[in-house]
């Protein structure tokens, strides 16, 4: 019954968008309550659908669109957990925004754009085909552009919005290339489609992966990965995400932490069978993810803007998720469950951290941590909820982040045993840094002396309540949901006509799969659920005890280190030991590896704009130039020829006779040669 109304999950936020856009300015608080209600209705519907679907049903509705394409809704376990998470977190953030944006003259515009974003994000999640996913993907990007540039009068906000759009657009180009390639490959197979089936539908794609040449699969996978890298802020397209913090903090929490940036990870998870079948597909995912996780974590150490710290942290954590998916090369489909678990958990604690930082910024009126300090005295609720978020992010035992990140590190170890240890090493180092930068932030903001004169009060309860709810999930989601979550998601690809053993052979990781799953490669895998569970149960005892407890040591060690540097009560060292502008190496970190200089100043402004200017010169001088040259020639010729028009009749007759003679000669010759 709920499934019949699945379209409303997108439809209601669209309605809220239209209402806020056209009449929002006449409603209290810019019509923010409409956006909250629409999203909350989506949550209720998603829960209803969950109750109908669990544990072994999927929903697939579809109707034709244009040419060979369709629009449709596909809700399987993978989509459903995303739907639940997004509607839940976004409802809370919209609620919080009702307090945060109160009094902003553009609040109706804010809630209109936020509602459109919600619709686009939810549409992306339950799209049943790749084109539709891409369309919502781009709409999400548009909303991100609009919301980053929400305070458009600020030049830095307008510039950040543009940068975000263009950088992710680079990824989207690759994504689009991947879709074009995939479509043409599928089209060339001449598949006999049943009524209601279309080429780019996920079930159709899954079912025909084995027939696509492996080299093509790799190209397609790399294209899709490019899209994911752009949207999920992975290296080297991560540069837009820290700048995106120019938007209101609620935007950062919603789009640039909890939901939109996870779309890239979701895409890879959604297309996991393709990545699995593509030789080197998952290797590339693992490499990008692991490198980004560490790289971004180092940048998180030096930022002074509280939101930028969180942004780098997001980039880093998304790297963890990517790396988790990448390890699927060794552990199979269970990687999807592990990565998605971190995705969901991360969205809780990262949304929480952002909203807490927003609460602090709301009071202190600056993003700069150097002007905060001692805030904890006045904002108890904010301080403690943020502590929960920080512990979760740092991976403190029993918190959500501990379970989810720990599990990624564990499967990275298995990947190490089977294939390569580099991702594991990178991830462990990144986990250490995560704990350090998280508590650097927490100590700097909440403890110590007040470093500036700020408003000393707690935020209103409409902002605090969402914090508390998120804090409960940031703490408890891990313990409560871990087991059920994995087995539920492991069943995901069992709903489709896809044979992972065959795909493993194409993808070149047959040996690992067999070894870990303990099953012969030839056996058909009707239910991946069993396979995933077995892989897990067989693999885990293989790890030595020190691997098992390493994440705990990492988290505690990191927090301890941070306290020695940044907690005034136990401070032993000065931060300038690590960063500073004294020598090139430390400056490198402080300058964020000179990425702005390389990407924006050098590449965009010099190379791209430079070639545009060169084209312009060519166009004026050459392409248009020859015309002017021609017209000058004609004019010059005319100047000479007009002298012939002398008015003397004898001259004209002479010319006439000459002309006739020439004509006769030409015609005679032409007849001789046979032209006429």
């Amino acid at each position: 019954m709920y499934a019949d109304y699945a379209y409303l999950i997108v439809g209601l936020p669209v309605l809220a968008f239209l209402l806020c856009l056209f009449v929002g300015s006449r409603l209290p608080r810019g019509g923010g309550f409409l956006t909250v209600l629409a999203t909350f209705a989506g949550l209720v519907l998603s829960l209803g659908i969950f109750s109908e679907m669990y544990p072994d049903k999927i929903i697939h509705q579809s109707m034709p669109w244009f040419a060979n394409f369709n629009v449709g809704i596909l809700i399987d376990p993978l989509a459903l957990v995303m739907l639940l998470m997004v509607t839940f977190v976004v409802t809370l953030i919209h609620t919080y925004a009702n307090g945060y944006m109160n009094g902003d003259p553009g609040s109706s515009r804010y809630f209109a754009e936020a509602a459109l974003f919600t619709a686009a994000m939810l549409g992306l999640i339950y799209a049943d085909n790749l084109l539709q996913l891409f369309i919502f993907w781009e709409l999400v990007g548009l909303c991100s552009y609009l919301l980053i540039g929400f305070w458009y009068r600020k030049p830095s906000a307008a510039a950040a919005a543009k940068k975000a759009f263009l950088t992710t657009r680079v990824g989207d180009v690759l994504f689009m290339a991947g879709i074009i390639l995939l479509y043409n490959n599928l089209a060339s197979l001449n598949i006999a489609l049943k009524p209601g089936e279309y080429l780019l539908q996920f079930p159709v794609i899954y079912a025909h992966l084995t027939q696509i040449p492996p080299a093509q699969l790799t190209l397609i996978a790399l294209g899709l990965l490019g899209g994911a890298v752009g949207k999920s802020g992975q290296f080297p397209l991560h540069v837009w995400l820290p700048d995106a913090m120019e938007g209101p903090t609620t935007v950062s929490a919603m789009i640039h932490a909890a939901t939109m940036v996870t779309a890239g990870v979701y895409l890879v998870a959604r297309m996991f069978p393709l990545f699995y079948a593509a030789p080197y597909g998952l290797t590339a995912v693992a490499a990008v993810g692991a490198f980004t996780a560490l790289f971004a974590a180092t940048m998180g150490l030096t930022a002074f803007d509280i939101k930028r710290v969180l942004a780098f942290s997001t980039v880093s954590q998304l790297g963890f998720m990517m790396a988790g998916l990448g390890t699927g090369a060794a552990v199979g489909t269970m990687a999807v469950g592990v990565a998605m678990f971190h995705l969901i958990g991360h969205s809780f604690f990262k949304a929480l951290l952002f909203l807490c930082s927003g609460s602090v910024i709301h009071a202190v009126n600056t993003n700069d941590m150097r002007e905060m300090g001692g805030v904890g005295k006045y904002m108890k609720w904010t301080m403690y909820t943020m502590l929960i978020g920080s512990l979760s992010l740092a991976g403190f035992p029993l918190f959500t982040g501990f379970f989810s990140k720990d599990e990624i590190i564990v499967i990275a170890y298995e990947y190490g045993v089977a294939i390569n240890f580099l991702p594991y090493i990178f991830l462990v180092l990144a986990a250490v840094l995560t704990a350090i930068y998280t508590f650097r932030m927490w100590f700097t903001v909440f403890t110590g002396k007040e470093r500036s004169d700020y408003a000393k009060h707690e935020s209103p309860s409409i902002m605090i309540i969402p914090l508390v709810i998120l804090a409960i999930f940031a703490f408890g989601f891990g313990i409560a949901a871990q087991g059920g979550f994995y087995s539920y998601l492991d069943s995901n690809f069992g709903h489709y006509d896809v044979n992972f053993n065959e795909l493993a052979v194409i993808g070149g990781h047959a040996a690992e799969e067999t070894k870990l799953a303990g099953e012969p490669a030839a056996e058909p895998l009707a239910s991946e659920a069993g396979e995933g569970a077995k892989a897990e149960s067989k693999a885990e005892p293989a790890e030595p005890w020190y691997i098992q407890i390493l994440p705990i040591i990492v988290a505690l060690g990191g927090i301890l280190t941070a306290s020695l540097f940044y907690w005034d009560k136990v401070k032993k060292f000065d931060p300038s030991l690590v960063t500073g502008d004294k020598d090139p190496l430390r400056k490198l970190l402080l300058k964020g590896y000179y990425q702005h200089e390389i990407m924006t100043a050098w590449f965009a402004e010099t190379i791209v704009y430079g070639s545009a200017l060169i084209c312009n010169v060519i166009d004026i001088k050459l392409v248009d130039g020859w015309l002017n040259w021609l017209s000058a020639l004609v004019m010059g010729f005319a100047q000479h020829v007009r002298k012939v028009q002398s008015g003397v009749v004898q001259n004209y007759i002479t010319a006439l006779v000459l002309g006739v003679v020439v004509l006769v000669v030409v015609i005679t010759m032409a007849k001789e040669v046979g032209l006429i």
Binding site: F66, F136, G149, Y152, R153, F165, V173, C615, L627
Partner: protein
């Protein structure tokens, strides 16, 4: 069913042009009515249009100059009809946008109507003689619009526009004559009938490849200059920069489409019978137009010139889709014609409004206008997003179909386009948008305000259309599907169709 719908549709604006010329300041009302009726007729035709039919529809055929085989034959199919619809829509919106024109309004609106006559004629003529007459008629109103209402260098621009496209048209005319004089009907007479002549080009005995190559090149030149494609595009920016806003809109939205229409109606049926090297040449021209046009747009300092070069880039997709010769790419290219036709209106109207309200179009001199022109800012933003290919709007559908379809036959060219044009296109749009509209409002612009309601109305109507056709492209592509398959098969003549 209305009989003689097409003739009526062409006759009414012609009559309207004559009346409004003598109507003085009331000309705009005449123009509104004279453009409303064709719009209503075309909507009625849309209802009656049979999307699955392979035949020409609404055909009218009368002998005109029987001694030389000239007939008055008009009719539409999935190639022509969407452009007829586009013409009637754009014409009325341009007239509404120009509601406040005070300089010689009688002539101004008469010329706009005359222009509608010309383009409608081009998109419906099925006789080469008639086709060429309309093709040339179109030049006249545009020449005067630029020459009389244009900017400071209007004389240069008008003459350049006229001579450049006229020379190309003459080359095309020679090619048409070559077709005419080579083919003889079974009874020995000659004909200008378009479909009969095109059908005959498939016959190697009548048109040996060497001869057909030359004819083809002549026709092609005529159309490529009109589109315009690299390297024949340089008349366009000059014409646009000097033309009044309505002139620019009509030029980009309708006149350029004549070139694209020529590709589908005339070039593609001949393409399979000429030297294969032509495919490569046209593909290279298409790719260069797209990429080079985008880079040029990025380098422009005048927002109107930026939009003008974006037309070169976007029309390159039409050429690419056409030459790639798959059902989807042709369909996409046809849709790109339609889509670019509506989107470019809002771009040129935006540029015009900025010029009108602020007094300059130099992007570097603008800033923060969104602050004072909030409604305009939203519409302009939507238009720019549509133009850069945002999904949900018509431009994306068209470009996606072109690229996906073209990949099957021209993979390398397609990928070059994907990689070099998409980000560049986004870059120049966003850069111009950011510089002109965002940031702090400049002091000197503290007193600017949203434009007149009629300007906002025209522009927002286009945004609505862009969204409708972006979300439901089948409304237009449905007609094109059959046409695209038709183009790829030997042309059916009217007598084969049994319509005459």
């Amino acid at each position: 069913m209305i009989s003689n719908a097409i003739s009526l549709m062409i006759a009414i604006p012609l009559l309207g042009a004559a009346v409004s010329f003598f109507a003085g300041s009331k000309a705009k009302f005449v123009a509104l009515i004279a453009s409303l009726i064709p719009l209503a007729l075309s909507l009625q035709m849309y209802m009656e249009f049979d999307k699955t039919s392979k035949m020409m529809q609404f055909v009218e055929s009368y002998n005109w100059v029987p001694s030389i085989g000239v007939k008055y034959t008009v009719g539409v199919d999935g190639i022509g009809f969407p452009l007829v619809l586009l013409s009637t829509i754009v014409s009325i919106l341009v007239i509404i946008y120009s509601w406040g024109e005070t300089k010689k309004p009688n002539q101004y609106f008469a010329l706009l109507l005359l222009n509608e006559v010309g383009v409608l004629g081009v998109f419906t003529s099925l006789d080469f003689f008639l086709f060429y007459i309309y093709w040339e008629i179109v030049l006249i109103p545009m020449f005067f619009l630029i020459g009389s209402w244009g900017g400071p260098r209007r004389d240069y621009a008008a003459i350049k526009f006229f001579i450049y496209t006229h020379v190309a048209s003459l080359v095309m005319l020679l090619a048409i004559f070559a077709l005419y004089f080579t083919y003889q009907m079974p009874d020995g007479s000659r004909t200008f009938d378009m479909l009969t002549l095109l059908k005959a080009t498939a016959d190697k005995n009548i048109f040996p490849t060497s001869l057909l190559n030359i004819i083809f090149a002549g026709l092609l030149l005529g159309f490529l200059v009109k589109m315009p494609a690299f390297p024949f595009h340089t008349w366009l920016p000059d014409a646009h920069v000097e033309a009044p806003t309505a002139g620019s809109v009509v030029l980009a939205a309708l006149l350029l489409k004549m070139g694209g229409y020529g590709l589908f109606r005339i070039i593609l049926p001949i393409l399979p019978h000429v030297d294969k090297a032509f495919v490569t040449i046209i593909a290279i021209i298409a790719v260069l137009s797209i990429i080079y046009g985008a880079f040029l747009a990025l380098a422009q300092k005048d927002i109107k010139k930026l939009v003008a070069y974006s037309s070169v880039s976007h029309m390159g997709f039409v050429t690419l889709g056409a030459v790639a010769f798959t059902t989807m790419s042709i369909q996409g290219a046809m849709f790109q014609q339609f889509s670019h036709g509506i989107i470019t209106c809002v771009l040129f109207m935006s540029a015009g409004t900025i010029q009108h309200v602020v007094g300059t179009r130099v992007i570097a001199d603008l800033g923060g206008l969104a602050d004072r022109m909030p409604k305009f800012a939203v519409i302009m933003m939507a238009g720019f997003m549509a133009s850069l290919g945002l999904p949900g709007m018509s431009g994306f559908v068209a470009e996606f179909m072109v690229l996906t379809g073209s990949f099957a036959t021209l993979p390398t060219y397609t990928m070059i386009v994907v990689f070099l044009s998409i980000v560049t296109t986004a870059a120049y749009h966003l850069w111009a948008m950011q510089k002109a509209m965002f940031g702090p409002i400049l002091k000197k612009y503290m007193n600017v305000h949203d434009p007149h309601a009629y300007e906002l109305f025209s522009m927002s109507m286009i945004i609505v259309l862009t969204l409708i056709f972006g979300l439901q492209p089948g409304l237009i592509t449905g007609m094109m599907g059959t046409a695209a398959t038709q183009v790829m098969q030997p042309v059916m003549t009217l007598s084969q169709m049994g319509v005459i």
